[in-house]
């Protein structure tokens, strides 16, 4: 059962390595789980799950796995069984094999046996094994060694109940994000110039080397360590974007507050980019798109944020712009392609979930720009693509079928 649990977690997307699994076995052998499923729930989480964004997945996996069997589940027996006949994952890294060799399973088993005996004695004595005085090896949930009542959920709640609460749902990284999270994702958007510009005097290294040389001055030059990212942010406002206005505002304010770009510009558009881009969300003041594009070059990246949800006419027809009085003389698609050609390193962020990206307009736009969800995961992927840390991967398999 123990190894099953390991595979269960891995199957649910929590990549537990043996470097993490073995310490859990050791901790249990040393009595840290106190033969209590609630304690085991926290213990396994502390040792196996290293990101709070995975807590929710862990809760689900735990509840799924232990639901129904917790009543007759005896941790000590299970661990004993496992130690007698350990089944281990097949693909092991060098690091994991080393960890395995360092752990003598027989010795572990012996220690565990001893611990079990000790536990019974201590139970009877009642001075060590905290709790309600019973000798049951199952212990009791939420018991507190210091005798201070902490939290309303103490007492009788079982581990599975606690896990089923899914209290960490809000920490998942595939949900929409707040300003600080966006800011953090954008901070990863940096490319340090190595080959561009003249080298600069590295004062610290110069002093260091000169001192090492016993005072003989040795000038050290190095590449400038400035972030070379130049960013143009284009945000769709109005119409179908109204439900996402708040999210886009957060994206905007986070990008605005991120002061680590070499250059940062922003403009607004409505549904699709045409010959004008706007500097205010009411689209009263603005510049010619051509002028904006003239000021930027291939070294810039453009992030377009919008739901890519429009009538195909708006993309492909002359005069198809959503505002009636606006008679565009070039198609929206032409403008989008122009942006892409000017700045090949550009992406589209979509606040709508992937599964509805099969609208005809979104399909067309996806052929022009790589598209990502405006979630923490999506934004991180987009940032990596812009910074050249990963190639864009097609994602059509993940998108549901479009039906009218």
């Amino acid at each position: 059962m123990f190894t099953d649990f390991l595979y269960h977690l891995r199957g649910r997307g929590i990549q537990v390595s043996l470097t993490e699994w073995l310490p859990l076995m050791r901790a249990m052998a040393e009595g840290h789980a106190r033969a209590n499923l609630t304690v085991f729930y926290h213990l396994a989480r502390a040792l196996l799950v290293k990101r709070e964004t995975l807590y929710d997945l862990y809760d689900q996996a735990f509840a799924e796995y232990f639901k129904g069997i917790e009543a007759q589940f005896d941790l000590s027996e299970e661990l004993l069984d496992w130690l007698t006949d350990p089944v281990l994952p097949r693909e092991l890294s060098a690091e994991e094999i080393a960890a395995l060799q360092a752990l003598d399973l027989d010795e572990l088993r012996e220690r565990f046996d001893q611990r079990l005996r000790e536990q019974t004695e201590r139970h009877d004595g009642g001075d060590r094994w905290i709790g309600t005085g019973g000798t049951s090896p199952f212990g009791h949930g939420g018991v507190n060694p210091a005798g201070i009542r902490v939290g309303g959920a103490g007492g009788g709640r079982s581990a599975v109940q606690v896990a089923s609460d899914r209290r960490f749902r809000n920490l998942r990284s595939d949900r929409v994000l707040d300003t600080r999270q966006i800011g953090m994702a954008l901070r990863r958007l940096r490319r340090l110039g190595k080959d561009e510009g003249p080298e600069e005097l590295d004062l610290d290294a110069t002093i260091d080397e000169s001192a090492r040389n016993g005072g003989e001055i040795d000038l050290i030059f190095g590449p400038p360590r400035r972030n070379r990212i130049k960013l143009l942010l284009l945000i769709d406002v109005g119409g179908s974007m109204d439900p996402h206005a708040d999210l886009c505002e957060r994206l905007f304010s986070a990008a605005h507050a991120a002061n680590h770009f070499q250059h940062f510009e922003w403009r607004f558009f409505h549904n699709c980019v045409y010959e004008r881009l706007y500097t205010d969300i009411f689209r009263r003041r603005g510049d010619l798109t051509a002028d904006v594009l003239k000021r930027i070059d291939r070294t810039w990246s453009v992030i377009l944020a919008g739901d890519a949800w429009m009538s195909p006419f708006e993309l492909t027809h002359l005069g198809g712009a959503i505002d009636l009085f606006h008679d565009n003389r070039e198609t929206g698609l032409t403008w989008l392609q122009r942006i892409r050609d000017r700045c090949p390193n550009s992406v589209w962020l979509n606040p709508e979930p992937k599964r509805i990206w099969n609208a005809p307009s979104a399909r067309v736009i996806r052929e022009v720009f790589p598209m990502f969800e405006l979630t923490l995961d999506g934004l991180s992927e987009a940032v990596d693509v812009i910074a050249g840390r990963r190639a864009n991967q097609p994602l059509d398999a993940a998108i549901g079928q479009w039906t009218h």
Binding site: R26, K50, R51, A146, V150
Partner: protein, 278 residues
């Protein structure tokens, strides 16, 4: 069961899960990585562990310029150069210019210590990986003198992170991890009573209702935290605000909310809500 048990201290209330995480990290001799919303007491935890277990406390505050090596030792070449040119000290002995960093001192200490590596995410992405070897082996070499420093007592290492950067997987695998969830109302009540033991029950009730209501407001740019709540209560009590006043309008909101827009966005709905209640 010979390992020490951390149970919190008089002023630091730790949830059972947090205590278990601390104890297992101590027993397995692995670094304890702590994350959590600002103001949930990440930094204070390490001090509380030191206090609770009666150990010395060392702190290493990480900055964006910190290097892993600085924690072990620094060779002050500039001081040596200065002495060579202008001083009259003996510069032949390099050991005089080797200064141990916090990690180095925690290894060298004859007693077991608690070492806090605070805000590890502020440094370069590779920073935690640079420490892996030393944290695993608990020893390092001073290249300039050839001396090897080995920990006689493995320090208890507590690492905090504010999530500004992803930490490398290799580092995460070696840590015991705990995310301090925001305290629920009951735990918060206990925490407040530690800091304000004589608070009136009715005021405390009102304050907590208002506080958790504020935290639920999605339009806030920064949600108020525990430390701000404690400060707010201090302000309310010092000004002698009566509990009835709380229902009309929340006084001293500036203590809780630090963004101007937040103050604006909350003033309206709160007033409306109060109107409905009466």
């Amino acid at each position: 069961m010979t390992f020490e048990q951390f149970t919190g201290t008089a002023t630091y209330l730790a949830s059972p899960e947090l205590r278990d995480a601390v104890n297992v990290a101590v027993a397995l001799e692995r670094p304890l990585l702590i994350k959590g919303e600002p103001g949930t007491g990440k930094t204070m935890l390490a001090e509380a562990i030191a206090e609770g277990l009666g150990l010395e406390f060392l702190s290493w505050n990480i900055k964006s310029t910190s290097k892993g090596h600085d924690g072990l030792y620094v060779y002050d070449t500039v001081a040596r150069l200065n002495d060579a040119r202008f001083g009259d000290r003996d510069i032949g002995d390099i050991r005089r210019y080797i200064k141990l960093g916090p990690l180095g001192r925690s290894f060298k200490s004859a007693e077991r210590v608690v070492l806090l590596i605070d805000e590890v995410d502020k440094a370069d992405m590779e920073f935690p990986n640079d420490l892996l070897h030393e944290l695993d082996r608990m020893s390092f070499q001073i290249d300039e003198t050839g001396e090897t420093v080995t920990a006689t007592q493995r320090p208890i290492v507590v690492v905090t992170s504010n999530n500004e950067k992803e930490l490398p997987d290799a580092f995460l695998r070696r840590c015991v991890f705990h995310y301090i969830a925001f305290p629920d109302e009951d735990l918060m009540r206990d925490i407040v009573q530690v800091h304000h033991p004589e608070i009136e029950e009715e005021l405390l009730r009102q304050v907590l209702i208002a506080f958790y209501w504020l935290r639920e407001q999605t339009e806030l740019r920064k949600r108020p935290s525990t430390s701000e709540l404690i400060d707010w209560i201090a302000a309310l009590r010092r000004a002698g605000v009566r509990k009835e006043a709380m229902e009309e309008k929340l006084p001293f909101l500036g203590v809780l909310l630090k963004h101007e827009q937040d103050l604006g966005s909350v003033a309206g709905p709160r007033a409306r809500r109060a109107g409905v209640l009466h």
